[in-house]
Amino acid sequence: MTDLTPAQRAERLEHQLHGHGHVDPEEMDATIAEAESASGNYPSPALGARVVARAWVSPEFRQRLLTDAVDTLSEYAPQGVPIAVLENTPGTHHVIVCTLCSCYPSGLLGNPPTWYKSFEYRSRVVREPRVVLAEFGLELSPGVALRVHDSTAEQRYLVLPLRPAGTEEWDEDRLATLVTRNSMIGTGLPIAPGSDS
């Protein structure tokens, strides 16, 4: 047992690993900075939003995304694990979870949000998804079929949300501003044009 705080234990571990040449603190700094970057060039919700917006304007791209997501997404960021895209329709809504740990389409969206890794989300969204979605402010019509995907293997999922009405004249860059992280997980919808949120 130890009375050290997690921060102290992490520092001790990094020091030991560095002492034997297993980690390079400067490279770790760079890895963290890349993960925290919001530029849209590294895996992040901003990068995912660019992909979704392109799928909304290009039927050819959308088709490639749905049939061969690994190759198609590799144009944006390398995909180290299999990935599949789940297309929402007016009659079907998809939501993703990893009940066993925290599997997430990180190769495109970056690290998952903290709530995605919480016991609350992981245990409850498989059992009472409509209640959980309501906690996110998403009230699905009872007529919409709900599909929950538990990422139990190495394959990851990305939800392709429905394009909001009233955006017919919008270009790709403008559409990307409507795509939220939660809309690509299935716990939210894209921002409706003209709304404040």
Binding site: A7, A10, I32, P82, P142, D150
Partner: protein
């Protein structure tokens, strides 16, 4: 496990809530001396009460401390290899199941590692499609290296069958061929 409350949704949550969380995350990314499956399996060794009381990166830290010792990383420069990371686009072959087949999930009780969730064991679902090919997670956790890949299927289950008549959703999961049997 049941009994958890509302999802703790944060607005504009940071990637890491404390700098040490980022260090732990980056440490695991850097060392990679074993399989992701053995990492997950190590986290599962945490005493249950401690597991539930710890935050996400505290569980990572607990596991990396033990894996670093187990793999000899705290005593010298040598680092075991987990072998080649499997390909996400590996070609599939003829499997035992086809879309539309009814399958029962094996009751995958093991002292080792499995990715078959308890809530699906012994339930019957419909094969939707081939999900991917990937080394068996139990084998990868046990050996610490990635072995021969196996077919993994996406199987769909009725929510009402799993969770009672109030559940009107469909649930799907990706399960290894060796954990499924035809019915």
């Amino acid at each position: 496990m049941h009994g958890f409350g509302r999802v703790p949704i944060e607005v504009n949550d940071p990637l890491f809530h404390e700098p040490w969380e980022g260090r732990v995350w980056a440490m695991w990314s850097a060392i990679g001396a074993t399989t992701i499956d053995r990492f997950r399996f190590t986290i599962e060794q945490m005493p249950p009460a401690e597991y539930l009381a710890s935050g996400y990166y505290e569980r990572w830290l607990w596991a990396i401390e033990r894996l670093a010792a187990e793999q000899g990383l705290l005593t010298g420069p040598d680092r075991p290899s987990a072998g080649t990371w499997p390909s996400p686009v590996a070609a599939a072959w003829e499997g035992r199941f086809r879309p539309g087949d009814s399958v029962r999930v094996r009751n995958a009780v093991t002292a080792g590692h499995t990715r078959v969730p308890r809530y699906l064991r012994r339930h019957i679902g419909l094969v939707e499609r081939l999900a991917c090919v990937w080394p068996n997670p139990g084998d990868s956790a046990d050996s610490g290296t990635y072995g021969q890949p196996e077919l993994v299927y996406t199987v769909a289950f009725e929510g009402g069958d799993l969770f009672g008549p109030g559940a009107d959703h469909t649930l799907s999961a990706d399960l290894p061929e060796s954990d499924l049997e035809k019915v």
